[in-house]
């Protein structure tokens, strides 16, 4: 089925002519759920090149036991904690993008996450998150309560920027209860601190109005979610998505993956929490008939060094694999597993650029025209999602 591209609001009327007469009246809202693997996930122990003798040689006691690895093919396997993801894998709904990174990688948490959040080059400093940049060119059509919702104890990152109505909330019900007390009030100010305050108030009011409409429509999510931080965030996202057009983007955080010491147990626990929460979320979305309208995409500031350090952990690295999950994902492996022989110093070389990874979201998920991509990206989608990309006539 051909889906409509998102267009600027002013062009919405002309786009109505493109609607296939058979399709339902309004397009179903598509939701991106970004999950930041805060601290830098160790990709090498997540998607393991178990058949490569260099893996065990370099990782020593930190290498994942061979008999525990969940084999995906003759070369790569998954960390055992990711067992709950084997259902979506078998159903062809899990895309694993290997070796995602960028040129001249920076190993500072703060600088590198800034680069990932803004999709800048290694030497450029941008003010707006990449989602904000895209939305500046083309906004998803829909009566969304907000442009982005940030859950958990999380920074807005990719969804921060001029023109973005981004709501940070820990608990939707509480948010609505408290928002009722704010009096509607428009006010501008030349004082930037006050302007920020008033802007956030205005966003709260708008979001609260939209969300309370959704709250009246939503049925409670029957699925049980794990009582972990990431479990709670995904549960809240599920609730809001189930009810309707809350926001086109949700941003969640899981971590900390900054495993400089004692990595083995910590990493296993973090991956387990992630997989269990995602599995519950998938179930909830499938029951609600919305799994085809949702895309989960992970990202992180970097992967980790190939070698183990002196404390049973790994230091900041570079390229790492990331996960895409959803009903429209064409499951499988994308990109190329970075070589353990051909390194960049002590680190893995990337095979898929971060911008190409994002471009799949922009062009294949939201089906935006190439003009919506921020200037200078010069990137290509990966072919990881099903659906037509406008402008090139091909159907996947």
């Amino acid at each position: 089925m051909q889906r409509r591209a998102f267009l600027k609001a002013t062009a919405a009327l002309s786009s109505a002519a493109l609607l296939p007469t058979v399709a339902s009246a309004a397009p179903r809202p598509q939701t991106l759920v970004l999950i930041e693997l805060n601290g830098g996930n160790d990709g090498l122990n997540t998607v393991v090149p178990y058949a490569d003798p260099l893996y065990r040689a370099k990782r020593k006691h930190l290498a994942v036991a061979r008999d525990q690895i969940i084999k995906l093919d003759e070369h790569l396997g998954l960390h055992p904690s990711l067992q709950p993801l084997m259902q979506p894998w078998a159903a062809g709904e899990l895309g694993i993008v290997l070796g995602v990174g960028y040129e001249r990688p920076n190993r500072s948490h703060f600088r590198s996450i800034e680069i990932w959040d803004t999709a800048s080059t290694s030497s450029a400093y941008l003010d707006n998150g990449w989602v904000a940049q895209v939305f500046a060119a083309a906004q998803p059509v829909g009566n969304y309560a907000a442009d982005a919702i940030v859950l958990g104890r999380s920074e807005p990152g990719p969804v921060a920027g001029a023109g973005m109505r981004t709501i940070v909330m820990q608990d939707p019900q509480r948010f609505l209860r408290e928002a009722k007390h704010l009096r509607t009030q428009s006010a501008k100010s030349s004082n930037p601190a006050l302007a920020h305050l008033l802007g956030v108030r205005a966003d709260i009011r708008t979001a609260a109005d939209g969300l309370s409409r959704i709250a009246t429509r939503a049925k409670p999510v029957a699925q049980r979610f794990p009582r972990t931080a990431i479990g709670k965030q995904l549960e809240q996202a599920a609730m809001l998505i189930h009810g309707g057009a809350a926001a086109p983007v949700f941003k969640l955080t899981h971590g900390s993956f900054d495993t400089h010491a004692g990595q083995q147990r910590m990493h296993a626990r973090l991956l387990k929490e992630l997989a269990e929460a995602i599995a519950a979320f998938r179930q909830a979305m499938r029951s609600a008939g919305r799994w085809g309208d949702v895309l989960i995409a992970t990202y992180a500031e970097f992967g980790r060094r190939v070698a183990v350090n002196g404390s049973g952990g790994t230091d900041h690295g570079t390229a790492a694999p990331h996960l895409l999950l959803g009903g429209r994902v064409r499951g499988g492996l994308y990109g190329a597993q970075p070589s353990l022989k051909d390194l960049d110093g002590d680190d893995l070389k990337f095979s898929v650029s971060m911008r190409d990874y994002y471009t799949s979201v922009v062009r294949e998920w939201w089906q935006l025209p190439a003009a919506a991509l921020p200037s200078g990206w010069r990137s290509q989608p990966l072919g990881v999602l099903s659906g037509a990309i406008p402008g090139d006539g091909s159907v996947w």
Partner: protein
């Protein structure tokens, strides 16, 4: 590649520029609003009595008044366990799961008590600037109780920060690279000659002193080697130099060559002009909170360096600057959670029985003391205000104003009036405070500039004679979040 050091202006030129920077200070007394501004920016709140003390003074005299009387030790007695040695790691490792859980629970309880202790100190200190600076240094040299685990280490670090808060930045850096909490937080206790760990070295250069662009990766590696051996005696929880794992070989660091140890590294760093610039920028942002032009930065940071990194001298310069006193500067800074909570209680004389309420309130607003989010500290500024935290701030302030929720004691030194408490006087705290104000404040026109730094965003209902209702409106106004 190292950037070349900028040419230092001659002392004569510096004094001339200095005089120009101070602008021609009027010798007449500061205004009410200026006094409020100075007190709020350098402390937690502008109490009416404090404003009264400053009123007869000139700007320069008022600044001196704020700077003098610095304390170097906390007056609040700490929890009793701070003198105990750290938990025995071997015992913990070999103990049963049940024992380990008990020990962990005890550590968590101690962490709560430590945070409550600091809040108590902030609420009662006679010198709020000392606590503001201690908070500032805690944010500049972050260590987290979550990673360090032993609260005693964070307590000791807090004492170190306070000792040097208004002292000498050079002494503070030297102290920090030997601070057990910091050494554990940034893994330096695992930094060995045979397997270096760069964490402390990197953050020392990137965040604590020079800033990105003022050193090379090779300098990080050299510093890491020099820092090997700076470790912690885990039985006593004190600094220990482990000679066996120290790399005493020759290093190249910031253009110098030698068998450097941690003290040498810090001394070499402190010769770089970039250090004074970094600290000056941060203190300007903290206290002045308006854009800083390069010329002013140059003058201030050069002077800071010339005084040998005397913090008080730098603060004197900032607080006497034209931009600090400009009327347009008022209300440009968003109160941090701690400033909002402590400031509100101090300002309205609200006493609370359990500082633990403040601890969890601060955490819910994004500032869990002794537990910064990462080694960069709390970003601050507009980052404090999100949809979530703005709503929560309002909710918490609302509860403060309904003093029955906090079981306030009525007044220090007086017996609690059982009758009024039983009646559940909702506005007891505020009415009490209003009654104690000098009469000239007891009117909307004078009450507003006492409570707010700017005109309120929402129109205040002045028709009501009930001033406590008005105070409530002012506190719940968005402008109350600013100072």
């Amino acid at each position: 590649m190292r950037t070349l050091a900028p040419k230092v202006p001659s002392p004569v030129l510096l004094s001339v520029l200095w005089a120009a920077l101070l602008t021609v200070l009027p010798a007449h007394a500061i205004t009410h609003d200026e006094a409020r501004h100075l007190l709020e920016r350098t402390g937690f709140a502008a109490e009416a009595s404090a404003i009264g003390v400053l009123r007869p003074l000139s700007r320069a005299q008022a600044v001196e008044h704020i700077l003098e009387g610095a304390v170097h030790q906390a007056a609040t007695p700490p929890p009793s366990w701070v003198t105990q040695p750290p938990p025995d790691r071997r015992r913990m490792r070999d103990a049963s799961e049940a024992t380990r859980n008990t020990m962990r629970a005890q550590l968590r309880q101690q962490a709560r008590e430590l945070k409550a202790w600091w809040y108590r100190e902030m609420l009662t200190t006679s010198h709020p600037l000392t606590e503001r600076m201690t908070l500032f240094w805690h944010n500049h040299f972050p260590s987290s109780i979550r990673k360090v685990k032993w609260p005693g280490a964070l307590y000791q670090q807090n004492l170190t920060l306070r000792r040097h808060a208004l002292g000498n930045f050079s002494d503070l850096v030297h102290a920090i690279v030997r601070d057990p909490a910091m050494l554990i937080y940034l893994d330096n206790h695992r930094n060995k000659r045979t397997s270096p760990n760069e964490n402390l070295a990197r953050e020392l250069l990137e965040l604590f002193t020079l800033g990105e662009g003022n050193y090379a990766e090779a300098d990080v590696k050299a510093a890491a080697r020099a820092l090997t051996g700076s470790a912690v005696d885990h039985r006593r929880g004190t600094y220990m130099f482990r000679k066996r794992i120290h790399d005493s070989g020759e290093k190249q660091f910031l253009g110098q060559q030698g068998n450097f140890d941690s003290t040498d590294i810090v001394n070499i760093i402190l010769r770089e002009p970039a250090v004074a610039a970094l600290i000056t920028r941060k203190l300007w942002a903290e206290f002045v909170a308006v854009p800083l032009d390069e010329g002013t930065l140059n003058i201030l940071s050069t002077r800071f360096r010339q005084t040998g990194y005397q913090v008080t001298a730098l603060l004197r310069a900032l607080l006497n600057s034209g931009p600090f006193w400009a009327a347009s500067t008022h209300g440009m800074r968003i109160k941090s959670p701690v400033e909002l909570l402590v400031g509100t209680l101090r300002r309205f004389d609200i006493r609370i029985e359990q500082p633990s309420l403040l601890v969890s309130a601060g955490r819910s607003l994004g500032q869990d003391v002794f537990n910064p989010p990462n080694v960069k500290g709390w970003p601050g500024g507009s980052a404090w205000i999100t949809a979530d935290t703005l709503l929560k701030r309002r909710q918490i302030l609302d509860r403060f104003l309904r003093s029955d929720a906090l079981r306030t004691s009525v007044a220090m030194g007086g017996k609690p009036n059982k009758n009024s408490m039983r009646k559940g006087q909702a506005q007891g705290g505020i009415s009490q405070w209003l009654a104690g104000l000098p009469t000239h404040y007891q009117a909307p026109e004078t009450l507003t500039p006492l409570v707010l730094a700017l005109a309120p965003a929402e129109p205040v209902n002045t028709s009501t004679r009930d001033l406590s209702q008005q105070v409530r409106q002012l506190v719940l106004d968005p402008v109350y979040q600013l100072k």
